[in-house]
């Protein structure tokens, strides 16, 4: 690059920076949008069921039934409500006042003493299948605790032949916010990164200023670079703000190093901006560019990145499609760097994939943006 090219580039950079500075909407997209979305998501999205209202129906109260139901009162997961008949409890569940029913039939104590294995009826509201599964798991825990407590009180051997020691790595409290917030950063940065640049070239076309740029001596490469550099800085600023909110406000641990996080974010930002430039060059119209940006970047990042929905559980075809979603790799890196630390076996392959995608999109943007009117 010779001196003339450098001078032209710095002139273009100055123009872009001034444009950003004078039009608050770009600054709003870079800083306000991530912050607002992160706050809404961070407070609003939680998969942790606590204080689940549950109906307890004890048809014949007794010592054994009381020892079982008292376990529910003690559990942090449940808020038990007593019902006299199973019909009342069913009505409460239909009206969604309770999420499930635990039912001790009238022969509960008699059968428990006669031969054991006295059935306890558990009915959960299956409308929200995920919630129902989690509630079933909690009921099972309460039951196992009750058995162990009884066996210990009786001074005998183990209640069940097996004792399971569950151990959760990387997120001991199994707090859904700790895993959702890092994933959210990826989703939000996809949106802002692509939206920022999707509009910039389309805007020049729409306003006719692209033609003005074409009659000057600047090359297409210089125009693209001048678009890329300021928005990269802006996007990384938004990224830093998001990480600060995650760590300081939501208390998400940052186990890995800040440098790994910065490097990975840089790669991802290049990919997102590259996608935005490609969209911008194709659409040449702000309305269509904005629509395409939302449909091709935001929704796949939300659904196909493994941020809420587990990729392993998707149908094979959908799993293959997820490989072309850049956010997938960034989500994997973020969740590891935040919750597990610098796990190189996760970071390196995903960072490599991001680098390849960044190169493809930036190259594509260069290839399809021509200095010509047609």
């Amino acid at each position: 690059m010779n001196a003339g090219a450098l001078r032209r580039l710095s002139g273009l950079l100055r123009k872009e920076s001034l444009q950003i500075w004078r039009d608050p909407s770009a600054l709003a997209i870079a800083f306000l949008l991530p912050a607002v979305l992160l706050l809404i998501f961070g407070y609003g999205v939680s998969l942790d069921a606590r204080n689940v209202p549950i109906a307890l129906v004890v048809q014949r109260p007794g010592a054994l039934a009381a020892s079982f139901t008292s376990q529910f009162a003690r559990s942090p997961f449940f808020r038990p409500r007593r019902f006299l008949t199973i019909q009342d409890a069913e009505r409460a569940m239909t009206a969604q006042l309770v999420q499930g029913i635990v039912w001790l039939p009238s022969d509960f104590a008699r059968r428990a003493e006669a031969g054991g294995s006295s059935p306890i009826g558990v009915i959960v509201n299956g409308v929200d299948a995920n919630d129902a599964r989690i509630i079933e798991g909690y009921v099972q825990q309460v039951w196992a605790t009750w058995l162990t407590a009884r066996a210990q009180a009786a001074g005998g051997g183990a209640a069940l032949p097996l004792s399971v020691a569950p151990q959760v790595r990387f997120n001991q409290a199994v707090d859904s916010r700790d895993y959702l917030v890092p994933g959210l950063i990826a989703v939000i940065m996809t949106l802002t990164g692509a939206l920022l640049t999707a509009l910039v070239i389309a805007r020049e076309w729409e306003r006719g200023t692209m033609e003005a740029l074409m009659v000057t001596r600047v090359t297409m490469r210089e125009i693209l670079l001048a678009k890329l550099i300021p928005y990269f800085v802006l996007g990384m600023g938004g990224m830093a703000a998001s990480v600060a909110i995650a760590v300081l406000l939501f208390g998400v641990p940052l186990e890995g190093s800040v440098w790994v996080l910065t490097a990975a974010s840089g790669l991802f930002m290049l990919t997102a901006l590259g996608m935005g430039l490609v969209i911008s060059s194709i659409a040449r119209n702000q309305f269509v560019a904005g629509q395409i940006a939302i449909i091709t970047t935001f929704l796949p990042a939300f659904l196909l990145s493994g941020f809420v929905f587990d990729i392993n559980s998707m149908p094979r075809v959908v799993q293959i499609i997820t490989h072309i979603v850049a956010a997938r790799y960034f989500v994997a890196i973020l969740q590891s760097v935040f919750l597990a630390g610098n796990v190189w076996s996760v970071i390196l392959p995903n960072a490599f994939a991001l680098a390849v995608m960044a190169a493809i999109f930036l190259g594509l943007a260069r290839a399809i943006t021509h200095k010509r009117l047609d």
Binding site: L47, P161, G290
Partner: protein, 369 residues
């Protein structure tokens, strides 16, 4: 007067449906989203990669391992011979569950002590971790009860008999797909209505409308009803797809469903008209629609339960029409609810719809004079 409003409605429908690009926005993305959401958005676990370190290697431990291999939710990725690789497998996400069967397993089983089994779960995705724990626990408990029965151990005093009402196999598709009816209806209706007035303002034809004999209220009707029609039509297509393509059972009647749909679309139309009255350009209207849409979807209970949100956020959701309609669609689809049971969901939507239409009419008058 009715004829003139009708003419305006026809004109609006033509304006939206004639342009190839806006036709695409109305038809393409919703269909793609329906398919992708329907297939990708699942909380059910399949093929969870599991590694097993069996230190005991006895008949009993092999029986336990076989139960994990036979379960469709789990897929074996490694049989370990030492504990050295456990951390590496978990770190790199090659295994999401590592089951460690202790050396004393058979010995403890036979002597009546609790035989230790360790289940190590990757907690980076906490929801998956909870579900994996639940699945593993079910298998381990089944093994416990069977082994106890086979070897003459006293049975536990009570066992759980678990059933799920309304969705016996707990398929999350039955939960997500009816939700999509609400989601896409809101997106499409809001976009159509929010852009309608802004488009006329931007192209300057709005002034022409104002000099016609139409009253502001007639213009409002002419702008609102096309969105209403398109929204109801779009919802009907998705409902049909839910029933015939995704095989979600429709247990209730169409009357409670469509009553809810109508109130919901009216409420969304009112909000869309408010946005449209405030915006000067299509760009601003689009931004306004987006700013309303994202929080309203996230805080509606579509993917995560409202009951899990902090109380002040739960209070905020009371203003969100989608919250009520989601309850209605799911209740009608899965629980077979009737209109009487859903009264408590209908009236808040009617109130939101009425209030937003009045507000839109007021804003509209203010901006036109």
């Amino acid at each position: 007067m009715i004829r003139q409003v009708l003419a305006l409605i026809v004109k609006e429908l033509l304006a939206v449906l004639r342009d190839a690009k806006s036709r695409m926005v109305l038809i393409g993305p919703p269909l793609i989203q329906l398919l992708v959401f329907g297939y990708a958005a699942t909380f059910d676990l399949n093929h969870v990669p599991v590694a097993i370190y069996d230190q005991d290697r006895s008949a009993a431990s092999r029986d336990l391992v076989a139960r994990f291999l036979g379960a469709p939710s789990f897929q074996l990725v490694a049989m370990l011979r030492s504990d050295r690789r456990i951390d590496a497998l978990l770190d790199s996400r090659q295994a999401q569950l590592v089951l460690v069967i202790d050396r004393r397993f058979t010995h403890d089983l036979l002597t009546g002590q609790a035989a230790p089994v360790q289940a190590i779960v990757d907690g980076r995705n906490s929801n998956t971790a909870l579900l994996i724990e639940g699945y593993a626990n079910t298998i381990l408990t089944d093994f416990s009860l069977n082994w106890g029965a086979d070897h003459g151990r006293p049975a536990p005093p009570a066992v759980l008999d678990m059933r799920a009402r309304y969705n016996p196999s707990l398929s999350s598709r039955w939960f997500i797909v009816p939700g999509i009816v609400a989601l896409l209806t809101q997106v499409v209706t809001l976009l159509v209505v929010a852009l309608s007035v802004a488009r006329e303002r931007e192209t300057g034809t709005f002034d022409q409308l104002l000099v016609t004999p139409l009253r502001p209220i007639d213009i409002l009707l002419g702008k609102g009803l096309p969105g209403l029609l398109i929204g109801v039509f779009e919802a009907s297509v998705i409902i049909a797809a839910a029933v015939w393509w995704f095989d979600v059972p429709l247990r209730g009647g169409l009357l409670p469903l469509y009553l809810g749909l109508l109130l919901f679309v009216v409420a969304v139309t009112g909000i869309g008209l408010m946005i449209s009255s405030l915006a000067a350009t299509q760009q601003q209207a689009l931004l306004g629609a987006f700013l309303f849409m994202v929080p309203s979807i996230i805080l509606s209970g579509f993917a995560t339960p409202i009951a899990n949100m902090p109380v002040w956020v739960q209070d905020l959701t009371l203003l969100n029409p989608m919250r009520y309609f989601l309850v209605i669609v799911r209740a009608v689809f899965l629980q077979g609810a009737d209109t009487r049971m859903l009264t408590s969901q209908y009236w808040p939507m009617a109130a939101i719809g009425g209030a937003s239409l009045v507000a839109a009419a007021w804003l509209f008058r203010k901006r036109t004079v």
